[in-house]
Amino acid sequence: MTPEEETVRNSSSTEVQDEYWEKKLEMEKKGKKLFKQQIFLDWCKGCGICVAFCPRKVYEMDEMGSPVIVRPDDCIGCRFCELHCPDFAITIIKRYPDRRRRKSDGS
């Protein structure tokens, strides 16, 4: 789960929830390709390569020196991070705007 998703999940405000899904719906309409980033922290050594070179600033370093995914939807799927992580800790996966979850959420 990305920090963004986590905030949405933990939020009791319908406004936050609505805003999130509206944004996703908008993206789906525009046909924007979405990607999921997975960081396997057991292997990550916090070198900062992914944080420094991601062209869309998807990652930021936390105070413990670990990368966090802060802007997952900005990812363009270039895989720079995946190819340059020396520790095989990043996987980029194609993702569709959470179609299934939205349906079940609505019901």
């Binding site: 292997w43 050594k45 070198c47 900062g48 390569i49 995946e82 340059h84 992580c85 520790d87 996987t91």
Partner: protein, 280 residues
Amino acid sequence: MIAEITRIRHKYLRHDKKFPHVWCPGCGIGIVLGSLIRAIDGLGLAKNDLVLASGIGCSGRLPAYVDFNTLHTTHGRALTFSTGIKLANPSLNVLTVMGDGDATAIGGNHFIHAARRNLNLTAIIINNQIYGMTGGQYSPTTPYGSNSTTSPYGHIEHAFSIADLAVTSGASYVARGTVYHVPALDKLISRGIEKEGFSVIEIMTNCHTQYGRRNEMSDPVTMMKWFKDHAVTTTRAKKMSPEELKGKFSIGVLTDIDKPSYTEEYQKIRDRAKGREVKS
């Protein structure tokens, strides 16, 4: 569905035993390892037909992490082991990974003669311009003027170019890449493995711990940016003047020629010998 990259990692790495690997945070050798397994996967080579030999050094640790036939040999001698393996069983695809010190200091003689004989081997040389493992002593590729533990007042010797040395020694295929230009590196390695004859891929790699730290590039990001700013593709280099090329290095394919390899010639002698045996 399992991600493509996860499939490759699971197929070629000893992922369940050996990771995280031993290299420093951000060490470029990990990036080289990634390139290598993608190149192998792209060529569709069977794991049983692959051999990866290495010498000693941080780069020498690389075979420990891949799941095919591997051999961690002695410092500077990896190519001699590879030569023996290839001659004993020419059907194997034999790759050799070496450090800059490994390949061109202690192993320099083996290296130039393997190139001269044009053995059908692939040499992957991880050039981090330093003796990484032993604490940052200068190697034959440490740049003039830079600092190392054995050149604390600035290096007074001149570096040689591994790729140029390979070209003049007679290798069939010589290429140079960096750990910043990874998609290109995948292709350079892949072509090197395919090539009949001796192929050399020199890879400019960051050792910020031993080299960078003493030369104002103490983190991997700074070193990778340095590679980005100082690498020029071979095509572009041809159009540049010597002044413009000063301080830069070229990346891409430097040589790709066809000539009989030692392995082929040796096979002919073998066949002839067998033929004679039958006759008598």
